[in-house]
Symmetry: C2
Subunit: 308 residues, 2 copies
């Protein structure tokens, strides 16, 4: 058992069964060998707000608008025209793979360092319109406190995201204290050029493997981290396999599923990613399997990280 009073840990979590389950896991994990203390967190909707749009989409739209300002002809492409006009039906009809590929193409041919600069520039000025706060302050304070507790126990903490690996790497240290090698996401291939013995490396438009959702998260955790987590935290059907994987090993483990049921302070929506619909709502899966469901409305005293 921890010698600290329960009240001094996870202060933004309200007392109750959910916080007790998390604290109980932390106490148990303290007896697990350090090499097995691995925690995998989904990003969008788990560590920060994903509504009304993914931050990564906001970023690429920002890049697109800057490109169009310099070269108006770019706006005539079918995918970009649909995005810029806000024509949701047209976007849906084109489909996420095609839209995603067009947006990825905007940054093809630039170096990783240039891409990181673009993301950080955007993050320095982006605001969430509906929530009236900087985008960088749409992270969930209770989750940041959980990350701190895990770090104090020498956990290896990974962000396992359906988003682009390099996009999340550009913000993960600043937002979560997670270094780039511990971000497992949808990977882009690089083109390595080595004409004169000085290699250079630029972004391509080809994925390395598949989109990091569902079963792919389990495979990529193994290929990129090499260890099974004992804590899995997510919020959507795309996290189901990861959470099942986290609780499928030997010894103490915990699966935490965030339920977005707080229309007043955040958003209220069914906890499944639109593009990875399953027949059973993920919250029902969670309750059936004995996972711990975190009700944003009931379990969190504070939702967002402080401004500034």
């Amino acid at each position: 058992m921890s010698t600290r009073e329960p009240g001094s840990r996870l202060p933004s979590w309200r007392p109750g069964a959910t916080r007790d389950a998390v604290l109980h896991f932390l106490d148990e994990a303290a007896a697990v060998p350090v090499a097995h203390r691995v925690a995998c967190f989904d990003n969008d909707g788990t560590l920060w707000c994903e509504r009304p749009t993914y931050v990564q989409l906001d970023f690429f739209l920002d890049v697109l608008r800057q490109r169009v300002a310099r070269d108006p002809g770019v706006a005539r492409g079918e995918e970009f025209a649909a995005l810029l006009s806000g024509d949701r039906a047209a976007v849906d009809a084109l489909g996420l793979p095609r839209i995603g590929s067009a947006l990825t193409g905007l940054c093809a041919g630039i170096s990783p360092e240039e891409f990181t600069s673009l993301v950080r520039d955007f993050m320095g000025r982006a605001r969430h319109a509906g929530l009236d706060r900087p985008t960088r302050a749409t992270t969930y304070q209770p989750m940041l406190e959980l990350l701190d507790e895990l770090r104090s126990l020498d956990f290896t903490i990974s962000v396992v995201t359906g988003g682009g690996t390099e996009f999340v790497r550009a913000v993960s240290d600043d937002l979560y204290g997670v270094p780039p090698e511990l971000v497992v996401g949808t990977l882009l291939q690089y083109d390595v050029d080595d004409p004169d013995g000085s290699p250079s490396l630029v972004r391509s438009t080809r994925l390395f493997g598949e989109v990091n959702e569902g079963a792919a998260k389990v495979g990529n955790i193994q290929t990129q981290l090499g260890r099974r987590p004992i804590l899995g935290v997510g919020n959507s059907a795309g996290d189901r396999q990861m959470l099942a994987w986290a609780t499928g090993g030997v010894g103490p483990s915990l699966a935490l599923l965030v339920e977005h049921d707080d229309a007043e302070r955040e958003f209220s929506y069914a906890g499944k990613a639109e593009t990875f619909a399953e027949t059973e709502p993920i919250t029902d899966v969670a309750r059936r399997l004995g996972w711990t469901v975190v009700s944003m409305a009931q379990d969190w005293e504070t939702v967002f990280a402080p401004l500034g």
Copy 2:
């Protein structure tokens, strides 16, 4: 400058220009932001002995012999027959990709945990015949001391190997203090099965990307670590691009190339991997580009880690 006396650092490195260059880099690196303190080490021939055969090949041969003991028919396969008879010409004629694929197939269908157990069992008993010491003690003591110095400077240390990622991960913490997520090697894909909501994961025979040598090392460092190293350490032509990459950025950097010129204590051979021959010997490339060449015979007072 470090406040420690030079003599107290890198004690197995003999005084001279090579050690001075390494110490100078360490002193400079202390002023580099921690996020940029990334070091990438090749494994075979750089951190431990690769002659007369790669340890990974010894391991797979051991697995093969155990398999044949249970099922003698396995030995009739063309690749295995060539390997078991020690017919070097036949092995060469079949080619590394085919031999490698056959050996990888021996462990197809088993879980990552089972594979790790096989490797650790082997490493617990394997001996290097020529050097008359346990295989696990064929690591280079001067490199272990360099790893310690880097760790004291909060470097992120990665092993970037042409060998199988999972093979090296099974030994990297024990041998080098490097956790699995910081091993960048040749990746195998996993088959994820999820029939009833309890995902399982087994080794396939398919590579994820290509063999991690040459330009692939640069691409994989970016995709898997997300940061450019400022220290690159290698010994073969397969490390050329990685070392050029490490020294191609802004700020202090160092490329170290181990020259195997010590027939008395280890082996003497041209510093290029047989399967990645280039027209120019890698030691000539190194001297031309101003890399620091480490003469095993001249620069190292002690070669191997202590027994036991």
